[in-house]
Every structure is written in structure tokens, then in C-alpha cells.
Amino acid sequence: MGGLDRVFRGRRGGQERPLAAIIAGLWRNGEQGVWYDPSDLSTMFQDATGTLPCYMPGQGQVDPPVGMLLDKRLGFALGPERITNTEFQTLNGWTAVRGASATVSGGAVTVTTANPQDWGSVSTPIATEPGKSYLVKVLMTSGNGQNVQLLVSESAVNHVNITNTGSSRNAVGYYSLVFKATKTVHYVWLGSSTNTASVGVSSWVAPSVREISANYAFQATTTSRPTLSARYNLLTNTSFAGAIAGAPGTAPTGWAFGFATGEITAVTPLGPDFAIQIAASSSRLIFTQQLTAAPNVAYSHWIDVLETTAITAINFIALTAPPSGATMTYWFNGELITSSTVISNPGRLEMRMLVGSTGGSYYVRFGVGCSGNTTGIATIARPDVRVTNDGVGLPPYQRVLDSNTYDTVGFPLYLRFDGVDDFLQTASVDFSGTGVVTMATAYRKLSDAAVGEIFALSGNPTASSGTFGFYTPESANGTAAAVFFARGASSIISGQRLGAAPISCVAGGWVSISMPYMRYRINQGSSLTSSAATGGGNFGNYPLYIGRRSGTSFPFNGRLYSLIIRGTATPDATIAQVERHLNSKARIY
């Protein structure tokens, strides 16, 4: 057993450790890289400077943008608090400097400067480790219009190698910065900036300094931030709220009666949802909602049949104006049936539509008599429509009240990149100490219309030396390939795997530009290898771009569930474990 293998095995005769522990152990020796895990809410902020944590989507607010994505490679997203007095019940630990005075009240410190343009502040020491990065933030709750700033200095009383929030801000709100420590002690200052015309008075609460990995990803431009989502069911008001019994009664809110010659005989609570009992006598009563289908994609339309007399499958679920060339199959409790199969027992009924080369809008019908007049009584609930290959082992029903309110339990979180202008990037990540990188990523590609960059080291990864990247698709309306590539000193080594959108994938592998050699695979299928010449060398020191090449081209249209890059060789068995871990999160295969 080699040294690398020993690192990733347990202490008890090769027994495999938990997958999450294996992931965390990938960087135990300080290896370069990133670990982005959008399933972990503590790693994401709505803004680019780490002040507004992301909230769970689906709880009534618009899916949040992600402006800062922390790297978990250090074993944490945010380290322990470094400021000893964050409560401001007293001034303990804080010192008024440069002639300022300070008082505390109600958990806030109020700083009054003695003179303009002299940076009067309160400061506090923090223990730091040189070379490590720290996220500093504080909320200013009031000011007097004079400019203020948060800054970090190597000195308690002088500006020495400072990092600050600028000298021309005076609005209340969060102030934050990231600095890289150069000493074992730094000082956080809250107070006046250099650019003031008179005495400044400002109040501050909740200061915080916590270590972060320097390899966090960010996006300053609001409209270019990916959004955090867990939406799978394409319908809205799946709870059938708003339905009222009658002849025909009232359709659920947001649903339209298709035909309503039958009657709603009962509307009964079913957990947080409602079940609708429909009676038809040589008549019909159906609800519809409009959807849009993409070409060459299969969609599953589901309904719970809670009670039924003998009614055929096609009279529970059907479509109005399906795209030309679409074909339908019916399934009951997972068993293939025909459209004319009589459903006489409770169960979950699915109608699957395979769209041909033509997409378009259509209406899905749920009810009794979807295909024509019929006779019978049935109770239905919990409709769900999703792309058939969108996840494995997900809950069969996702409650969606509206686009902002939906179930998230059991549904993997993902970053949605819009394929227009969304992307994240890091500061330069120095891979110059290695010619080998390991990568693993879980993603869903939603379109093959244009080249999409999931990640790449450097803004010009195919022309610069010492780069790597992953595109899918590789070309517009072309091969629909996913390509993993790296460029050595003079040329590119790459490998393609085919798969038309929409498709979800866990890709894992490694590349050495110094050997040269690469191997990668998708969804733990067969491995693709290459030994194409690269010109050798090591990787470079470039920003990592995620979702758009250099922020200007090749926007990725899809979802990112996770991304791991490790700047060294990794045993194949460990890569397989990493792939399994990513799949356990994203539930792709």
C-alpha cells in the first residue's frame, strides 16, 4: 500500500472511513484547491463581501443570489470568532485611539472623533496566523454623515499595512473586508475615515473576525450572481388550495377548468395539501396548467390517486396540445401500463411524455375525464411534473405553492447558472507547486445551445500555460460533449464524454501535465484516458472561474451541486469515494 493510499484509509485494516471524512481529509496536508458545497448554507452569502448569509430557498422569498461562496477545504467555512468582546456590554478589549472617545450602550459602541481627518476610532487586537485570510464585518447602526471606515492595521494606533473599506462611505449598514494576515496580531479599527470634514460620530454593533479560506469565490455584480435553488416540480399550487366543492365548484387557485361538466364533491385536507374528490356521470371535470416542453426531453406528470372507481389511466392525466411528435406512456406505482389500463386501486399514477424534435407549450390535465366523458368517482392530490431524469431517489412529490414557496426537504440544493451572465471567480489560486490536479464535480447541464464553462483556472485556459478546465457542452449545438482539459507549457490534453442536455453528471478524474496523462469519467462509468503531449510544466497562479470563461464568454446554463479541486495526485479509489459522496448529495445516479 502506497503512502497516498494510507492517507485515505482508516486505522483498522483498510476499513473505509465515512465519505464526508474522506472529503475533509483531502487537504489535511495543506494541499492547494477548493471545496465548494452549495448544500451547506453556512458557506454562502447573498453579497460579494460576506455580510448577508444566504437563506434557505423555497420559504417564501425569491431564491437568493449567491455573491460569495466559501471554500470548505480548511475543514470549516468560517473559523472561530477572533474578537474577544463582540457584545459591547463594556469596552473591555477595545481602546479609543487617535484622540477619539468611545462609549457603549445597548450592545453598541459609539465613537466620537476629536478632530476631522485623523481616523479617530476604537481598536481591538486579534490573534492571527500569517498567511491566513480573515473575513471582518461589522454593522454600523448610526452615523452623523461623516465618512467612516472599518480597517485592519498591524498597529493599534497607526495605519500600518492596512486593509480598509474605503474612505468615502457614510451610510448605515454592514461594512466588511477580507485581509491576509502578515503578523500574529492585527488590530480591527471602527471609526472615522481620513476623508471627513468635521467631527464624526458613529455607532457599531456585532463586530466579527473569522478565518476563511483565501480561495472563496465571489461575484460583485448583482445580476451576474447565480441563485440558490431546490426547485424540481414545475407546477405551482400543487396543494390544490382554493378548490371549492360544487357543481362544478371552483378550480384550485392558479388552475383552470378544462372541462367542468362533472362536479367537485369534496375538498379535504391531506396534511398541508388538499385532496379533491370528483364525480362524473358521462361527464368530466379537469384542471389544467400551462407548461413549456423542450425538444427531446422526457417529462413525468404524476398524480396521487387516493380513491377510485374503475377509471382508465388516460382519464386521470392527459395533455392539451402536446408538442408535435411527443409520445406518451403510463406508469402506475412504477409499473408500465397502457393509457387504457383501468385504475381501480389507490396509487401514484405517472404519464411520461417524450418530446420529439419540436418543443413548445402545452397544458397538463389532471382530473376525471381527461380524455373524454366518463363515469366514476375519484379523489386525487399532489400533482408533480418534472423532467424525468432530474434526480434519482428524490421524494416523489414536491409541494410548490408558488415560485418562491416550495418544499426543500429531500431535494438537493444547487447553484443555478443562467447561461447568460452568471459566474463566480476567485482571486488567483497558486497551483504552481504542482503539475497534477484532481477534480470532482456534480452538475446538471440544461442546454447544448452554447459552450458552457463549469470551471477553469485562468480567464484564457486554452491559451495560457498551466491551466485546466471543464466545459459542457464543448461546442454550440455540436457534440454535446463534456470535456475535461489541461494545458501544459505548449499544448492541451483533453478528453470528451458525450451526453445531451438535460443531463446530470458526477465527473471525477485527474490530470497531470507533467507526465502527461489524464483520466476521467462520468457517473462512475468507464474511464477515458489520454497521454497527449502537453509540453510539461506545472500549473499556474490564476483566478478560478466558475460558470463563465473570464466572466465574458461561454456561460454555463445549468446547476452546480458541488465542486472539488485538489492540487495533487489522488488514488483512484479515493476519487471513487469522492464521486460517491458528491452523488449522495446531488442524487444523480
Binding site: Q46, T221, T222, T223, S224, T227, A450
Partner: protein, 122 residues
Amino acid sequence: MTNWTHRTIIVPDAVVVPARLACEALAGAGGSGMYSVPLSPTGELPATHWASSGPIDEEFAELLANPDALVAVASAAGLDSAPLAALVALVAASDISDLALESFDDALARLGLQRCNQEAAA
């Protein structure tokens, strides 16, 4: 707490530079770097229009939809009448659509625009 909404904003090439400056002035750092997607009727460069699409603060969306509110905010920020008029004209020249009601591609189709072709991946 920020309340988000989603918009697609498309501006003519002739005003893209002042549009970028105005967005940064109105929205701060979050408004910097906008209009980075080149568009044209043929899909070939040079771009005739530029786009941004995605989440924006609801308050910013309301400013874009309400010239009076925009004037009030810009005036309060000290903008003089001439640049104020230019700002209002800038917004009027922009095509602003709600992503909840119209996708980015549908907005392009409505305007007869395409994304400009970019170089092929290696």
C-alpha cells in the same frame, strides 16, 4: 434584509457606457460590471445592444420602472438637471422585462436580437 426580484435589462450599444456608470452610481458595487452580454440582430459582432439578466434589489427595480422615483433619488444624490435628464432618457431607452414573466431568450426574440457569436472552445 434585501428583497430580490429578477430582471432582464437590455440597452443599446450607444448608451452602454453611461448605463454602466449609472447602474454603479445607483446600486453601488452590486451595480458595477453590468451589461456584459453582447447582442446583435445577426448574432455577429459588433454588438448593437448589451444585456444583464438576473437578481436585482426590488428597490432598484422600482426605480427602473418609475421615472419619478428615479428622478427623486438621483436628485437627492445631487445629480444636476442635465445628467438627470440623460439618466431618465437612458432608462427610457432600455428594455426592462421581468424574468418571472418572460425568459431571457424570449426577450431577445421579441426584440429581434441574438447573442453574439463568440470564439469556439478549444
